[in-house]
Subunit: 255 residues, 2 copies
DNA sequence: CAGCCACATCCTGCATGCAACAATCCAGCC
DNA sequence: GGCTGGATTGTTGCATGCAGGATGTGGCTG
């Protein structure tokens, strides 16, 4: 939303390569651990090696690729623990954002913006059609972005960007497909309640409350994750699903 | 420690350029806002444009450079607010690491390692010579790294790396020159006490205590920052000092 | 039959040349 | 005199050629 790079999909070859590669990886075009051979990608992406390499380096920073010692990159694989960690860490950072917002104070118009966004969300909570869910995702992102802006910490924004760029770590990662899993529908009611509490906490300068509430809010995604992992046929339709490591012979480490 | 890139300073041209440029920037070879012209850097660094550009992109990720819309990079300038934010955010992340360590449990040998490191620190707290301070910095870094390892969260490590790579955000950023400012000497006693409390909290699985203690521990750097800002003649000798914006009547222009 | 060495192949790291874009400066015109 | 247009210069974006290194394979030998 803030960035205007989607409007110009190929203003530069680097972004073209970046968008194409990210799309390909998340859609499962490569198996986890598969090596990203530059010359092979030149054909499939349509750019030269120079911008392509820049894009690969960028994707390594985003966490989708992993650099090899001898050079080159492979597609990363994400364990369940990785995803849980990412969600928890997002909660920590968004909690910090909420705390900053409460401590540093929010302008009246900022609070109004939060309220109007959350009011729009309330209208959609009980809708069941797909279009409403798409709209919900937008509004949800908007709400989280608003709080982040109110926190007024560029560094925090950067750190959070680095987390939500990971698959399944975003605030709305699992929301979209909830349209198909009615058992998780009531979660939206809880989320709306969390938002309302956050607004109130920020308005009343209750920093501790705001922080812990935002953390708990992020943990909603953990619940959603569990639900999804027991419905693999739906999970497979989410972007990046192919990057999740099978839970099989992995040593289970209960928290 | 884990990475062995310092042993081979120029194993690849990219790292050579990266190390050289970082050194040059932190030593004040460029003024904040100055444009980093590639061709000019080719001479001064001694590598070609291709690896140099990779290094520039890396430095932008580290936060030392800022990318321009039309292309190219400029040296970033850090306000006091930026530094305070970085320190506070480091506290949040190290607090999370301490909490993880307490929640997930530390092995006996990990606790022993923490204790021995902190015991070594205790020996140095009242020493005043420069060599002792250098050793103190090493041990301090070691202690923080140990806790981070015990937390067992690769993602958290990455996030923290992204913060401490900023100038003045590291755990020992202001310690080294404390040798010259006796008024901040007793801070080391407090820091040692914090460490001891952290070990105890982790051992007793007191997650909340561990988190808030680590946060408070990071705020020591805030105190040190204030002290330094009132001793500009000492501050100037720290790497990266030239990147700090003067606090004067600067017109803040929020994006 | 197993281990080791040498060779061939593939891939990445790097350098350089070319082209397009942006900024700047100067000149001409209103 | 100010503004606008164009030209020139400087800088980045991109492509490709080349070389070094890692890897895998085959054959030879113990």
């Amino acid at each position: 939303m803030g960035k205007s790079d989607v409007a110009q999909p190929s203003r530069t070859q680097i972004t073209r390569a970046l968008l194409t590669l990210r799309e390909m990886i998340l859609s499962g075009a490569f198996a986890p651990g598969e090596r990203m051979v530059e010359l092979a990608l030149v054909e499939r992406v349509g750019v030269s090696r120079t911008p392509l390499r820049l894009a690969l380096a960028e994707l390594e920073h985003e966490g989708l690729l992993r650099g090899l010692d001898g050079g080159g990159y492979v597609v990363r694989e994400f364990s369940h623990a990785d995803i849980k960690d990412a969600i928890e860490l997002r909660g920590v950072l968004e909690g910090t954002a909420a705390r900053y917002a409460a401590e540093r104070g929010a302008a009246a118009r900022d609070l109004r913006g939060l309220r109007s966004t959350n009011a729009a969300i309330r209208e959609l909570v009980h809708r069941a059609d797909y279009e409403s869910f798409e709209r919900y995702v937008d509004l949800n992102e908007c709400f989280h972005t608003r709080i982040l802006k109110i926190a007024r910490s560029p560094l925090l924004e950067r750190a959070l960007e680095g987390i939500v760029s990971l698959p399944f770590a975003g605030a709305s990662a699992f929301v979209l497909a909830e349209a198909e899993l009615p058992e998780s529908r009531e979660i939206l009611v809880v989320a709306h309640r969390h938002h309302a509490g956050l607004i109130e906490a920020i308005e009343r300068r209750q920093a501790g409350r705001a922080e812990s509430l935002a953390r708990e809010h992020a943990r909603i995604a953990l619940t959603n994750l569990e639900i999804f992992l027991s419905h693999k046929e739906v999970l497979a339709r989410l972007p990046g699903a192919s990057l999740i490591a099978p839970q099989a012979a992995r040593q289970p480490e209960p928290a």
